[in-house]
Amino acid sequence: MQNSFGEPQTILLLGGTSDIGLAIVRRLASPTLRHVVLACREPDSAAASIAALGADGADVRAVAFDATDTAGHAALIESVVADVGDLDVVISAFGVLGSQSEFDHDPGAAAAAVTVNYTGAVSSGLAVAAQLRAQGHGHLVFLSSVAGERVRASNFVYGSSKAGLDGFAQGLGDSLVGSGASVLVVRPGFVKSSMTEGMKAAPFSTTPEAVADVVATGLRSGRRTVWAPGILRFVFMTFRHLPGAVFRRLPLG
């Protein structure tokens, strides 16, 4: 159960090694926090993530989670709930960026990336939503991306998977109205993290910590969509309405 300050007792991070996800967990940690579950591909290699949390007093554990093993998602959520009780905050933070030039030559790799980013998020998101509905409270945070807001030629496979995820998350949020549970869709811009290591930072780039601040404020004030940084909301409001001929010519990388 969350307390009256919105401080969670349990957090489940799907994508347990995600820099942004871990930053959100750190931001939400308080003396109230009792359990953190990091769901990641290789739980044995989560030691660095567990250390990075430094959540004193809370029990932090890693469990195996394969985004593409959609058949196993419901059972995974059930087993986490059996271990730690009600889920107060669940962060869906897994995803792969990939390289558009590689995808252009390898449709199979593109499909695999989309399976992780979209199909895996749909499957695990529905399993989480069922639990939140049953417990009558809880927040599900989806890390979407501005890349899905207006998909660009330079990363359209990734962008389209995030566009799908974003639409799914919004619809799921609407379907949960009245259930006591809620969905927060987070649309970060370029985040300097291990996922984007070596890439040239785009304008209005941000950090995992800054995204975490935006998420914490959004949860606290009951927002349903947040942008990080906030100005991107207005930038993409403009982009969305630009004619294709203009949009294609923008030097967006």
Binding site: M1, N3, S4, Q9, H137, G178, G180
Partner: protein, 457 residues
């Protein structure tokens, strides 16, 4: 019997924080058992809810069943010779007062609000301004009829199943539902109170005034201006009194001595987009409140609502705090640990957290209930907007001061603390859990508070 309508509803406590959705159904003493049987699910259980005046999540059961129990005060049976009333658990003190005061009786204990059900008063073991002499609500319960988890009913009293009786008092509704209770009531000659008011210039002053003089009064409480600092730290208004005797009323009021009127003069509208309670408005209010109070005034006549329930005159005043709601922090610090009380007050006064109403009360003896809050010591209560920056971290810090001093939190007010704090503050928790498990082995009775604070074992 009308068909019961169950609907998913979003519930909060009076502080309007941490909502959860539950299957809510209105019941009365006749329908509660059948509704429980028909609607309860094993996974999320059931809980009874009264008027939702506990501040945090005590009357919430996310995902489960919430039975909102009502009752009719008109059905209350008054035994005038024994000074006892037998009344439904869903009847409020507000409704009960309207019945008993004109007959010359007063409830044994009332909280700062009269919108508390008898069942809620028992489950929270509420206390009032008379605790130093007359104990908490549970001290005055002669007998209760409980609906147990298996659907059966049982009668408990200090002599019949005493462990279950005392586990239910202060048991936060997690041992069974109080269908009916027989409680002691005080005879009163009038519906007025006679009140002495006195200012105290700082914390030392108020503590010594209360230590030296509370025992001369039936009711005593102090209001602290938490916005005052330095040499004014802890400046207070001490208000003490008793029920007025007939001969204390002016001649012209005596024929209507037992008339009782309690109304709401205004209500806060449902939507308050932002908090009207901020540091500036709270500071002004506290300053004005202190200045308007007399330095010393004896023998003032006040009505029951004026004296006991001043906040009830404004309906839905909790909405004043806007969308983030507010938290009430009520702690106990045992006698001899006044340094901890001072530390808490200094920290709060220095922090910039603004408390609208801060109340200090000197408790008397504890009762036998394992989870009853009051015990010999000081209790301090504050109302703070939940949106206050840094408030949560400060309260966690104050928790340590309070617990290290052997103090505890009042669960009916709590909405922020931890299972560990409850274990430390209530060393008899395991004893209570054993009684609960013996009457509810399958864990039918559940609540958000129970889950959050680890009461359910």
């Amino acid at each position: 019997m009308a068909e019961q309508r169950t609907r998913r509803a979003r519930l909060t406590g009076w502080g309007r924080t941490a909502p959860s959705a539950a299957d809510l159904v209105d019941v009365d003493a006749d329908t509660v058992a059948s509704t429980l049987k028909a609607e309860v699910t094993a996974a999320r259980g059931a809980l009874v809810r009264g008027l939702g005046r506990s501040y945090g999540d005590a009357a919430q059961n996310g995902g489960g069943l919430v039975l909102r129990l009502s009752g009719l005060a008109a059905d209350a049976v008054i035994d005038e010779a024994r000074h006892e009333v037998t009344v439904g658990g869903g009847v409020s003190i507000d409704e009960l007062l309207r019945v008993v005061v004109p007959r010359g009786f007063f409830v044994p204990v009332t909280a700062g609000t009269r919108f508390v059900t008898i069942g809620g008063a028992i489950a929270s073991d509420i206390h009032g301004k008379n605790h130093h002499g007359e104990g908490s609500f549970g001290n005055h319960v002669r007998e209760m009829t409980l609906l147990l988890a298996d659907g059966s009913t049982t009668v408990v009293s200090p002599t019949a199943r005493p462990e279950l009786f005392w586990a239910t008092i202060g048991g936060m509704g997690l041992t069974g539902i109080v269908l009916e209770a027989t409680i002691h009531v005080w005879p009163v000659e009038t519906s007025r109170c006679i009140v002495d008011t006195q200012q105290a210039k700082n914390l030392d002053d108020i503590l010594s005034l209360m230590e030296e003089g509370d025992h001369r009064y039936r009711y005593a409480v102090a209001w602290i201006d938490l916005m005052a600092k330095g040499r004014h730290l802890g400046r207070s208004i001490l208000s003490r009194g008793d029920h007025a005797r007939l001969d204390q009323l002016p001649e012209r009021d005596r024929p209507s001595a037992l008339d009782y009127h309690a109304g709401v003069i205004a209500s806060v509208p449902p939507i308050v987009p932002m908090s009207a309670m901020n540091r500036a408005t709270i500071k002004v209010f506290n300053e004005l409140w202190f200045r308007k109070s007399p330095k010393h005034r004896d023998g003032e006549l006040q009505t029951i609502p004026q004296y006991f329930h001043p906040l009830d005159m404004v309906g839905a005043w909790n909405r004043m705090y806007g969308p983030h709601g507010f938290v009430q922090y009520q702690i106990l610090v045992p006698f001899g640990e006044e340094h901890a009380l001072r530390q808490v007050i200094e920290r709060l006064a220095g922090s910039g957290a603004a408390s609208f109403v801060t109340v200090l009360k000197r408790f008397g003896a504890a009762n036998q209930a394992p989870l009853s809050f009051p015990a010999p010591g000081w209790t301090l209560t504050l109302d703070i907007p939940a949106g206050t920056h840094g408030l949560s971290a400060m309260l966690h810090e104050l928790d340590h001061v309070v617990l290290d001093a052997g103090g505890r939190h009042y669960m009916a007010k709590d909405s922020h603390t931890t299972p560990d704090a409850i274990r430390r503050g209530y060393p008899r928790l395991a004893e209570w859990q054993a009684v609960r498990n013996s009457v509810d082995p399958d864990g039918v009775w559940q609540s958000d508070l129970g889950r959050r604070l680890g009461l359910l074992g």
